[in-house]
């Protein structure tokens, strides 16, 4: 309860292990001070009194008392100190651990107590970056940061020499241990978080054994990557993964383009076939119906109809062709047909040829062509009319 009553430590005389209280142990400073006071008294009263200073006049004794009181006051005031909310102080009395002091105004006898302040709330950080072996005997570079607070200031101050260096050592060992038990792929990819967790656990375990008083609040694997010697190869793997995806996508794009087109063409083919079916059926029905109707009429007057049909058809044939009548009775052996002339005539009529034309020939040809076209149109018109019936 010493912190509740500043200076209370001074009154703990009875509980003091030495049983001497405050004035018991002759501190060196104090002793010297007293000696000086004594000397001052001696010199002061040297000339006047022959007896002891106690017996002499009050003046030198008064000086001694004043000096002693002032000295004591100064010494007492030097014992005050304050502890911030973030801090705790470890107090050693004559070297022995005495107390761990809480925030507030405190007093401890200077020269007797040694006060060491420790910030216990500040989050400190340590980083390490190392290249190390993985489980599968690959080499990786890992960057680790450790955040920690001083949890137990007493241990931190008293138990270990250089606790923060111990933390570095322990972190190094724990990190290498964990990475040494993990495959490279895991270290480089999704295993990082787990490495952080494992390292933290191990690190805390080690620090507890060493009694450093340090509490590890977080361990973070900042970076893990392949060493520079193999970085290009690793990057190439990433590129290769991209290439793989790209090539697949390209193929997919091809498939997506080609299959629907084929389906379309297939539909066209089937549609065309359907059209053909409908067409031939319709044609057949039409022609059949036409024939039946014609037949019905024919059956009513077969002779005449037959004659008419015959004549119509043959007339059509004869009307369109060049005709040579040969009377076979008589001189068929004398007959001479200028077939070459006829052929030539028809050729001139049917083809424009490659010969140059004079205007008269051209006009004649034009007339012939128009006539021909008219005839063709008339023929097709009549046939379509016939088909329509």
């Amino acid at each position: 309860m010493a912190w509740n009553e500043p200076g209370g430590g001074n009154n703990k005389g009875p509980n003091d292990p030495w049983g001497n209280g405050d004035q018991g142990p002759p501190d060196l400073d104090e002793a010297l001070k007293k000696l000086q006071e004594k000397l001052g008294g001696l010199f002061g009263g040297g000339g006047s009194s022959g007896g002891s200073s106690k017996g002499s006049a009050g003046f030198p004794i008064g000086v001694v008392v004043v000096v002693a009181v002032v000295g004591l006051l100064v010494w007492g005031l030097m014992g005050f100190y304050q502890i911030d909310q973030q801090e705790r102080a470890v107090v050693l009395r004559f070297g022995k651990y005495y107390d761990t002091v809480q925030p507030g105004l405190q007093w401890n006898p200077p020269g007797i107590d040694v006060v060491t302040k420790v910030n216990t709330t500040k989050v400190r950080a340590a980083t390490l970056s190392e290249s190390m072996l993985t489980q599968d005997e690959n080499i990786v570079e890992v960057k680790l940061s450790v955040q920690y607070v001083i949890d137990d200031p007493t241990s931190f101050v008293l138990k270990v020499r250089d606790p923060e260096r111990s933390l570095q050592h322990a972190a190094q060992s724990a990190l290498r241990h964990v990475v040494g038990g993990t495959s490279m792929d895991l270290v480089l990819t999704e295993g990082r978080a787990q490495i952080g967790i494992d390292v933290k656990q191990r690190l805390q375990e080690y620090l507890n054994i060493y009694e450093t008083g340090i509490l590890v609040s977080a361990v973070n694997v900042d970076d893990s990557r392949p060493p520079s010697q193999v970085e290009a190869a690793f990057n190439d793997v990433i590129k290769a993964r991209e290439d793989e995806e790209r090539v697949k996508n390209e193929a997919q794009a091809y498939a997506n383009a080609v299959v629907p087109e084929a389906r379309g063409q297939a539909q066209r083919q089937v549609e065309e076939a359907s059209a053909y079916r409908e067409q031939v059926i319709a044609n057949a029905e039409g022609e059949a119906e036409r024939f039946i109707q014609l037949l019905t009429e024919y059956e009513k007057a077969p002779e005449v109809t037959r004659e008419r049909l015959y004549l119509d058809a043959v007339q059509g044939v004869y009307a369109n062709t060049s005709k040579v009548m040969v009377d076979v009775e008589g001189g068929n052996n004398m007959m001479y047909l200028p077939l070459d002339k006829l052929a030539e005539q028809s050729k001139v009529r049917s083809t424009s040829g490659s010969t140059t034309f004079d205007s008269a020939t051209l006009r004649e040809l034009t007339n012939q062509v128009t006539e021909q076209l008219r005839r063709d149109a008339a023929a097709s018109g009549s046939s379509s009319r016939r088909g329509g019936r």
Partner: protein, 291 residues
Amino acid sequence: MSNRNLTVMILIALVVFVGSRSIYVIKETERGVLLKFGEVVNPNIQPGLHFKVPFVNNVRKFDGRVLTVDSQPEPFFTQEKKALIVDSYAKFKVSDTQKFYTATNGEEARAMGLLAQRINDGLRNEVAVRTIQEVVSGERDQLMLRLADSLRDVVNAELGVELVDVRVKQIDLPRDVSESVYQRMNAEREKEAREHRAQGQELAEGIRAAADREVTVIAANAYRDAQLVRGEGDAIATNTYAEAFNRDPEFYSFTRSLKAYQEAFQGQGDVLLLQPDSEFFRYLKDSSGGK
């Protein structure tokens, strides 16, 4: 009078001097032994303020905290006779001050040197019976535990120190081996990269081939369906024709022939040689048609 003062002064000075020589402090972080003419009379002085007899008693103080022996990285050989660079550290503290004082003359550096040597030997032995794989990953904990166990009693008995912990920090391959590891890693990556690219090609080819197959199948099916439909049409048409024309095949033959004649002689260049005695010219010479 001044003579007496001088005597008092000298006496006081003597008292102070002797007093200061007879008081000593053992800090909480320290351990100490009290010697009397070189003989240990109190092997474990508690922290705090103590008195001794000047010139008779002597106090030796040691650091009582957990200390670190940080050894240098050194090559060790594994079971397969492969070299590994191993770096370790040990945590220890003085446990038996008397033993510590007698074994090391209270010199910390000397204690550390001796401890480092023992750890080094122990580590060498532990590494020598394991493969690289075991040292690196599998058995670090066991290795450390066994090493610590084998050393603990010995160093306690011989050096008066308590071995708190032994850990390896670094376990690395020698530089030239590292180079070949890098080469191997490169080769592995290259393999992986090629695999990815080849797999991409494989899948792409598969996708293309499947697409092409689908196209062919679609086309073939379409052709089949189309032919089916066309055939159906042809069949129905044929049936229709047959039904109609079968009513009078002779008349069909007649009309069809006439149509054929008309179609056949459409060209302008056709020349017909005719005999006047054909049916068509029946009335050409005779208006009664020969009847």
